[in-house]
Subunit: 156 residues, 2 copies
Amino acid sequence: MSGRLRILWPGKTRDLDWRALQEFYLRRIRQLAPCEVVETREARGLEDSQSARIKEIEAASLEKRLKDDYIICLSDGGKTMTSEAFAGFLQKRLSEARGTAFVGGGFAGLAGRILERADLTLSLSPMTFSHELCRVALLEQIYRALTIMKGKRYAK
Amino acid sequence: MSGRLRILWPGKTRDLDWRALQEFYLRRIRQLAPCEVVETREARGLEDSQSARIKEIEAASLEKRLKDDYIICLSDGGKTMTSEAFAGFLQKRLSEARGTAFVGGGFAGLAGRILERADLTLSLSPMTFSHELCRVALLEQIYRALTIMKGKRYAK
């Protein structure tokens, strides 16, 4: 594997149980591949109803950290894959020199202009998951993909 | 809503972070609808490789607790739905006198004979999720469905 792997999302997850699970999967991922998590600026102090404004503020901060990477935005309307297909996709991505960046939204989701920059929009489920659930599910799937690539055993 | 709502799976989730998240969503669900979780016998002390034996032991215990309910088994190969479609489905189910039981697997998944008893096999994602992730994602989706039914606001 040569290409670097990054994960970007706005703000630190505040809930301690979700955070602990993020850290659990991230430790496991890092036993198999280098992986950087970038927590960009989170819009705070705005009403939940101002979701366009929230997404705008968060998009500006995400954009500053997006480089020349292959960008995969998470969205429930995106492309679905089995874990095996995702492992094949990630293996191919990581074999290329260009980096790979997964981008997840905050509470309000991702701004349209971030989604438009995506090389791929990936859906972890046709169901709408909370952003905390998405983050942990993404890390679990990246870990699962790395174990599939490396022929390691891992749970159902 | 008249039909009762039950969730069955083998064994208590041991990881404390996953357990805390289960309890968090279960408390929220119970503010909106009665919901019983039944933790059936979990096969212990067997090698992970003996998955057929594990599923067999766990199926016997699940079967004892399955009543005349409408049975929804979780499986990554099952039917996928959006959260809105799932809310519509659950609303219809809960409006009927017959109870509704969601059945999730343990580490090794569900035995074929449990899957065959299902009135519906539901997939939370075409990806394979760990059973801990499945349990929390199911509870999050049931909570989301109840908020959609009741016209409450809830997060992305």
